[in-house]
Subunit: 462 residues, 2 copies
């Protein structure tokens, strides 16, 4: 979807939001809150601004989203996006290491940062009177980061230790890495966000600075301010801080290959003595909100909810309640992504049930679903619940701000966010069946088996 054009400042999303709210189902009556009064603008240097009013308490959430994530790591330098996120806390000449975090803490605020495949974001939540100060600090580190070998080296060790803790010692995380790599052999979503260990080891100060200069620019960033503040005030504060950063010639580009059409099913098996509970997952390559044809991503969202969104879902009902081959089963659509993405179906076998038997039962359940059509009333209930859950989550100021940031960082618009409940409501039973037939084909999938050492491990010790 096209971004708002540069120069088209102060586009209010009110109209779209109100239309959506008017049409939204009863369970989604609060949807208008999600977009009411949201204003989208842009500074002269290219920085996008989204202001989301929320007057319930005198606090604000301040977020800067950069449109670069691990999938933009240069070849052979996996992990650099995440490593730089760590290094962004190493200080500037004006504000040496620790000063920013100490300030947030002393003012009673919270802060965090996260790196994903498609973006990197930094945020704080604080009393509204301190917003201008936060912006000064955040704008300062957008352009004035100071990195010495003395801070880069030890921080690389911190990241390597983080990887060891999270992945090297966790068979489940190792399987997940192998499954993603098998699903995305061509596209960089197959590389873990934290990077491959042997490449993290090579990341140095120059790599970090080169990456920083390429991506940390106002044209590449989105400022989200949610809370007890009006648009004009937020914008004036942003002008005084971020507005002083000069624009680059143009926004950095992302160059990503498209995954070829999958032709063969892939089964990834990891056996480890540390595994106590076997698990199964089947991950399908599907379009994202950004790459899908109109309505297709919303259909996949509803499909995941109907198939595996809790105890009343199709898979849970058939596998756990009826057939008793699983103790848990679910589905999840990772719709927010710049490129083609993942649709998970997963289950935990009941005691004594092999992963092969469970996987066959899941295949049969998907076949059965694709051969029938969900009752209209069931579909309506599922859609209402889905939208209601989303609206409930948005009652959190941070969650709502995050939804906008994530959407804008993956190529969607404020209007897309506002109209989401309406588009979910438009999904039909026939859409679901067609989507299951089209996208949940076994050849599009990677199946992952996590099992204790010794099971199904003919051949040398895995």
């Amino acid at each position: 979807m096209p971004m708002t054009q540069p120069g088209a400042e102060a586009i209010a999303a009110d109209h779209a939001a109100n239309t959506a709210a008017a049409k939204a189902a009863a369970g989604a009556a609060k949807a208008e809150n999600a977009a009411a009064g949201v204003i989208h603008s842009r500074l002269a240097n290219g920085l996008e601004i989204v202001v989301i009013p929320d007057r319930r308490a005198p606090v604000v959430t301040h977020m800067i989203w950069y449109r670069n994530g691990s999938a933009d790591d240069p070849v052979g330098k996996s992990g650099i996006a995440h490593f730089l996120e760590h290094l962004m806390f190493k200080g500037t000449h004006a504000h040496p290491q620790g000063e920013f975090s100490n300030l947030v803490s002393e003012l009673g605020g919270q802060e965090n940062a996260f790196t994903s495949y498609d973006y990197t974001a930094y945020f704080q939540r604080i009393g509204k009177e301190h917003l201008g100060t936060l912006m000064e600090f955040e704008a300062d580190r957008m352009i004035n980061l100071v990195l010495s070998d003395e801070v880069v080296g030890p921080e690389r060790e911190v990241v390597l230790e983080e990887r060891r803790m999270r992945t090297e010692n966790d068979p489940s995380a190792q399987l997940d890495e192998a499954v993603q790599a098998a699903l995305f052999p061509h596209h960089p979503y197959g590389t873990p966000i934290i990077g491959w260990g042997h490449e993290i080891e090579t990341l140095g100060r120059e790599d970090a600075l080169h990456y920083y200069r390429r991506f940390y620019t106002p044209e590449n960033a989105v400022l989200i301010v949610a809370g007890d503040i009006d648009f004009e005030t937020a914008r004036d504060l942003a002008e005084k801080s971020y507005g002083r950063i000069p624009a680059r010639d143009d926004a950095p580009s992302r160059r990503r290959p498209r995954e070829p059409e999958p032709r063969a099913h892939r089964l990834v098996t990891l056996a480890d003595e540390k595994v106590e509970q076997p698990t199964q997952e089947r991950v399908f390559l599907v379009p994202s909100y950004t790459t899908a044809a109109p309505g297709e991503a919303e259909t996949l969202e509803v499909l995941a909810h109907v198939l595996g969104g809790g105890p009343s879902s199709v898979l849970y009902d058939q596998l756990v309640v009826e057939q008793k081959v699983a103790v848990n089963a679910g589905a999840y659509y990772m719709g927010s992504a710049l490129d083609d993405t993942r649709f998970w179906v997963y289950a935990t076998p009941a005691p004594g049930v092999s992963l092969e038997r469970l996987d066959d039962a899941i295949g049969a359940a998907l076949d059965k679903f694709a051969a029938s059509e969900i009752a209209e009333a069931d579909l309506k209930r599922a859609k209402n619940r889905l939208v209601a859950e989303a609206v409930y989550a948005q009652d959190s100021q941070v969650s709502l701000a995050r939804w906008y940031g994530e959407s804008l960082a993956t190529g969607l618009s404020v209007e897309d966010v506002a109209a989401w409940p309406e588009r979910i409501d438009a999904v039909t039973a026939a859409d679901l069946t067609a989507a299951a037939r089209k996208w949940l084909q076994k050849r599009r999938a990677v199946t992952g088996f996590l099992q204790p050492e010794g099971e199904d491990q003919a051949g040398l010790a895995a």
Copy 2:
């Protein structure tokens, strides 16, 4: 292994070759022919020259090898190395399209070209009196290629049709692509040499010219001349043709990520109605002659020969002769590669034997081999046969020239080629067992199953 240093001209490999020949086993007595009199040199502009005397007939083989293959294709531009190989026949201002090929044909010669993962090569075989003419033409197209949209567009269609013929209509080729992609999710060996169809479609004149200018330089090329010619004559002819091409500042670099250590076995299954004969393959990630520790690649070479080099091999004996679960079985080590490479074990099931059962039998056979040690006499016989086969193949002038070209294009030296029989002879029975235990672990492997539609295809139609 280090390349010969620039400036160290006219290094004769005679000594190493004779030493090797002296130590080579009886079956490899002709090994000295492979390297006797081979001279390695370099022009001032960086072009390497290898001259291989072969006086049996008044003909020469002339080859130019460029150190770039499909694994050097830029991200999103897969297939450009192979596409440019096609375009190299489109002519120059001096010699318009068709003139070079017509000349070779009129002079009674043969010509060919090939693109692999690590190199692209062009060769002709012709009466020795025409060598200078060939060099003039080949040197001309190294620097003066003319490409117009009128020739690029139709040739792209030719390549797309080549892909359709070779892959899109052949389930075996599709499985092979999926298996390689699963084995190399990070490294570009996972991308087919011909490229992915959706990326070939985007290749244009500018892509081709940019690639051509980057890689088609004297520093990046190796000239191999084999046949009825002495070094000085070949070198003088090369000086007069290739020697006129100016050097670039430095040789183009190859930037390739290293595959992370595999942790989970991957099974790739392709079912298609066109499949009449099911097949099984298991491909392990192993070091190449270029990346291996000393002696390790030679051990893998012998291991492949012992395990699966014909009807007297371990796998054939156990699976085909004894257990009768297969009608064919073999192994192959693709040792010639710049980066970590593939070791195949493959079999064709006997009628009525499932691929799962066959695969289990192969796993058991590998386990058994890794738990024992081959008899010294058997090993000696295997090594002699392996070297003898290689020497026999080198009796072909083109094969011998190709061996040198391939070796030099993947980072080896003339000395490496000459000493190969000696290094094969040094492999011990203990080496084989250790290599099987270290490298033929199931977690390092991708298994491929090719089967008729309907078998083991629970879930939606693959």
